[in-house]
């Protein structure tokens, strides 16, 4: 809602603005400055001519050195000035062009975000990307030229025309007589260019869509090995685009050639007529030569005008094609014009509402529904019954096609987006999670409602308590806690090191025995299955950066140590096995983080290892080069046998590693005693997660029951040290990844619910919002809804699990777009109708 700009054009939607409206809009001062500079430049260009004359006539003829110096000085100064002004003109033009292009992009993007959902179902993202990125460049360039170029060149042309008239009126009229012909012919030729350009824009769109389609459907392409099919489709479009671009360019050149031809006809006509007059003695030879040289000066301004004309035509087409494409009526204004957004009484009334597709299919058919303020309504039915459509109509995401639906007596279709977002919070079935932290996503709806500035500056930022509260209610609390505990805090750890150490002591005192079997403690005599091999060897946190994991293998001291302890060869063998296996399993699939949980190879490195495996395929380990050796050793050192089930290490290697651990310690003490902070129960380990620091060991079970118990122990410890909130704060900084890929489906849903809880809207619409959650989590959320929100917020929930339906005030059963049953749970069960049947099926 931050569409603040200063001029009146902003009230007209961008898609309805003519291209020319951008010329002065917001650029008036720059444009005037530009014209002034141009006029000055034209004037200054006369000075060298004048000086030329004076140097010859006065300085040289009169043999005056001082005059020669002065005139040459003026000549030089005017040339320097003219060049500087030319630079200034270019800078200003670029500035205007870029500013306007940026504004067009921003405003068009702002407009696109508000377009009806329907539009996006039929539009490939590629088209939008292409429009925003490519198609607005030429229109922007045009705006930069729009005033200055025609003005200068027409003025120049007129000035020369006047000058030629004075020289010889007859010849002047003859030499200018070609221009009307050109003014007729060139637009004719331009028509063809325009057609080519329209085709080009269409094809570019098609190409962008094709690219997006193949990327979106890459699973299908690779699964079917349909590379040839997709390549053919793509290549065909590229070929057509190439052909049309060639035609477009050729036709543009034809205009240039024609234009040049006519210009060159100028001297020709002068030769014929002027030559005749000269032979007849009616025109002096000198006058003819002067006329010819003056006429040559017409060439540049005309050429620039033609170029400008072409930019204008191309720009006009790109602009109007783009704007027309997005010129779809936006059903609802963003912000109310002359009032604050409503705070509605949230009773909802639906009368005879229908939603019909363009093909005439009735998704909703004559719906009548009354929902009191604070009431909780469950929408139930088979898939395709219209329950989601009804919910989305009430959220204004779908526009109902007939009938009425009101909130607090106001027709939903008449409300602005701001009215809706102020009063409604929606959680969809597959909520979108944005790249960033948990916290940023949690605050997304809240921030959108209150405004970024207000939240950032702290005036209306939610309290930590409030965040913790919604995390608990949505059930995300434990997940966030786990993210916090699994964080490796390298910097800023100092402030809480004493607390963690204290927790470690308490943990060993209070819980040590009871969870012994689930935790692998840092015991220097034991091999740690759940730590990687590097940690197992070093058995400490690197202080010197030469011993940090990524530098370890490149460190000569460490490599020598591996050789001495006989570990190099087994590690290489292991690294190779891991790389071979991982590449074999994960080849030919689109990569997802989940696939990389059981291998030390990371998603980003897959390609590198794929190549490596290919390169060393038929080679022995002693034949591989230095780089390959480093890559394999590094990989093996990242391997944790307990975590990465893809390979296993033999017993003898475990013995070598344990022996190596001692040997390493001995050697490093002599070489660099401060390089490593060895694991000690009274010290914080900077290379390990907070959780491992508290436990002084690593959790070795994935059993949910055991993990739950460990969580409880840790929560008890955190509460004891008053550190729970701090841990949640750390956990909220967890990066969720693109589309929330680092979260599970359930965590994404919980996050979406939490962000709506935080917004705390008067009306909540949940569209199968808990479908990916386990029963316990669903029940928890339902309890929160029933206890905390009943009477406070009106709730409309599309429900797929019938056991929670009891909690709702009213159950609405939909079938084929119609409400077929409505009443309380008990009423409907008694009625023994559709709902009863569905409820029985679900048992």
């Amino acid at each position: 809602m931050a569409l603040k700009r200063e001029t009146k054009n902003k009230q007209i939607p961008i898609v309805k603005r003519p291209l020319t409206s951008w010329v002065f809009d917001g650029n008036l001062k720059l444009q005037i400055l530009l014209v002034a500079i141009i006029l000055l430049t034209v004037a200054i260009r006369v000075i060298p001519l004048e000086m030329q004359k004076r140097i010859v006539n006065e300085a040289i003829n009169l043999r005056k050195l001082d005059l020669l110096a002065i005139y040459c000085g003026i000549y030089l100064a005017s040339v320097i000035l003219a060049s500087s002004l030319k630079l200034a003109i270019n800078i200003i033009q670029t500035k205007i062009s870029q500013k306007v292009t940026a504004q067009m992009r921003q405003q068009l993007y702002h407009h696109i975000l508000t377009m009806p959902l329907n539009f996006f179902r039929n539009t490939q993202p590629g088209t939008v990307v292409n429009s925003l990125i490519n198609e607005l460049t030429i229109p922007g360039n045009f705006v930069g030229m729009a005033l200055a170029v025609p003005l200068t060149n027409i003025v120049t042309l007129l000035a020369f025309f006047g000058y030629l008239l004075v020289l010889n009126p007859i010849l002047a009229v003859i030499s200018f007589s070609i221009y009307p012909a050109m003014l007729y012919i060139i637009p004719l030729l331009q028509k063809r260019v325009n057609q080519n350009n329209i085709q080009r824009v269409n094809l570019s769109r098609k190409l962008s869509s094709k690219i997006v389609e193949s990327i979106a459907g890459i699973h299908e392409v690779q699964a079917n090995g349909a590379f040839a099919i997709e390549n053919n489709k793509f290549d065909a479009i590229v070929d057509s685009l190439m052909k049309i671009r060639i035609k477009w360019s050729i036709n543009k050149f034809i205009i240039k050639v024609v234009s040049n031809f006519f210009i060159n006809l100028g001297p020709f006509s002068i030769f014929i007529v002027g030559g005749y007059l000269a032979i007849k003695g009616q025109l002096g030879l000198g006058a003819l030569v002067a006329f010819l040289s003056a006429q040559e000066k017409l060439y540049d301004p005309w050429k620039e005008l033609i170029e400008f004309y072409q930019v204008y035509q191309d720009g006009k087409i790109n602009y109007s094609k783009t704007m027309n494409y997005f010129d779809v009526d936006i059903a609802n204004e963003l912000i109310p014009k002359d009032r604050e957004p409503y705070e509605l009484d949230v009773a909802i009334n639906v009368e005879n509402m229908s939603l019909e597709t363009a093909e005439g299919i009735k998704l909703l058919d004559n719906i009548n529904l009354k929902i009191n303020s604070g009431e909780h309504i469950a929408l139930v039915g088979f898939s395709g019954s219209g329950k989601s459509s009804l919910a989305l109509c009430l959220a204004q995401l779908y526009s109902y096609t007939s009938g009425h639906a009101t909130i607090g007596g106001k027709e939903i279709s008449d409300l602005t987006k701001a009215d809706i977002t102020k009063n409604i919070g929606l959680v969809s079935q597959s909520p979108f999670i944005f790249d960033g932290t948990i916290k940023a996503n949690l605050m997304y709806s809240y921030t959108a409602l209150h405004g970024e500035e207000c939240v950032m500056e702290g005036d209306c930022a939610p309290e930590l308590d409030g965040l913790v509260h919604v995390l608990q209610h949505s059930g995300l609390f434990v997940d966030v806690l786990r993210f916090g505990l699994n964080t490796i805090v390298e910097k800023r750890a100092e402030e809480f090191i004493p607390v963690i150490i204290k927790m470690r002591e308490n943990f060993q005192k209070e819980f040590g025995d009871s969870i012994y079997e689930w935790v692998e403690f840092f015991d220097e005599k034991q091999f740690l299955s759940y730590a990687n091999l590097a940690d197992n060897i070093i058995f400490g946190a690197p202080v010197s950066k030469n011993f940090k994991n990524k530098n370890l293998v490149k460190n000569k001291f460490f490599r020598d140590f591996l050789d001495d302890s006989d570990l190099t060869r087994p590690l290489l063998t292991l690294g190779r096995e891991i790389a071979d296996q991982t590449v074999d399993i994960l080849k030919n699939i689109t990569h997802d983080k989940m696939f990389f949980e059981q291998t030390p190879i990371e998603l980003e490195e897959f390609e590198k290892f794929e190549n490596l495996v290919r390169e060393i395929k038929n080679r022995n380990l002693h034949q591989i080069n230095k780089e390959q050796t480093i890559a394999l050793l590094e990989l093996a050192l990242r391997f944790s046998p307990g975590k990465h089930r893809i390979a296993t290490i033999p017993e003898f290697m475990i013995k070598l590693i344990l022996e190596g651990r001692y040997m390493f310690r001995e050697k490093i003490k002599q070489k660099d005693p401060y390089a490593i902070a060895f694991f000690r129960s009274d010290q914080y380990i900077h290379s390990q997660t907070i959780s491992n620091n508290i436990l002084f060991g690593i959790v070795k079970t994935t059993n949910p029951i055991a993990q739950e118990k460990i969580n409880q122990f840790i929560i008890a410890l955190l509460i004891g040290e008053d550190f729970l909130e701090k841990m949640i704060e750390i956990g909220m900084d967890f990066e969720v990844g693109t589309k929330g890929n680092n979260l599970s489906g359930g965590q994404r849903q919980k996050l979406a619910i939490a962000r709506t809880f935080l917004k705390s809207p008067p009306i909540m619409i949940l569209d199968e919002a808990t479908s990916a959650l386990d029963n316990k989590s669903q029940t928890r959320i339902q309890n929160v809804l029933s206890r905390q929100w009943k009477g406070k917020s009106t709730l409309i929930a599309v429900v797929h699990r019938l056991d929670i339906v009891k909690e709702y005030d009213k159950v609405v059963f939909l079938k084929a777009g119609k409400i077929v049953e409505m009443g309380s749970y008990d009423e409907l069960m008694e009625k023994k109708g559709y709902f009863y049947e569905l409820a029985h099926e679900h048992r």
């Binding site: 390979a647 296993t648 033999p650």
Partner: protein, 176 residues
């Protein structure tokens, strides 16, 4: 204990390799390409349960499928506030394939009778693999169809011998 497990205990084989061995012998996955099988073996997890631990709960959609790798577990139905023992499951049994494909509550509870290790696959992992290999579910559906047919036949046989009218209510499942 069968030979398969003995090879696993030898220690020089990774968990992945032994999982793969198991998957190859599960009839539900018959006909599925090796690439898919490898991904399944790669993504499933081993869980251990102590005697008395509940592996899954009745009326809960735990979104998981289980293969009992070692140990023994009993299937329990809670009804009329009583626990009814249904049957025991021993090593090499698997339960819950349908949970991989759609959200559904487990209709029974499974409780470890002795220390038990299961191979567990989640619906999320399964769908990520299926996303890459869309033809996979179809092959699994064939086996499901066969299972339904077998159950129906069993029911019909029972009916033929007992002519109990109550069985009629159960009949027709193969016609879904």
């Amino acid at each position: 204990m069968n030979s398969l497990m003995n090879t696993d205990n030898s220690g020089d084989k990774s968990e992945f390799a032994s999982n793969l061995n198991i998957f190859r012998q599960i009839d539900f996955f018959a006909g599925i390409s090796m690439d898919v099988m490898k991904l399944f073996a790669f993504l499933c997890q081993r869980q251990t349960y102590k005697k008395g631990d509940t592996i899954f709960y009745q009326d809960d959609d735990d979104q998981c499928c289980y293969y009992i790798f070692s140990g023994k577990a009993k299937l329990i139905l809670k009804a009329d506030e009583k626990e009814h023992f249904i049957r025991d499951y021993e090593a090499e049994s698997y339960l819950g394939i349908l949970s991989l494909m759609t959200s559904m509550n487990k209709q029974f509870s499974l409780i470890a009778q002795e220390d038990t290790t299961c191979l567990v696959m989640t619906r999320e992992a399964f769908s990520k693999v299926v996303d890459q290999f869309p033809e996979t579910p179809l092959k699994i559906v064939r086996t499901i169809g066969n299972r339904l047919l077998q159950a129906e036949r069993k029911c019909i046989l029972e009916y033929e011998s007992s002519a109990s009218d109550q069985l009629k209510n159960l009949m027709g499942i193969s016609l879904i």
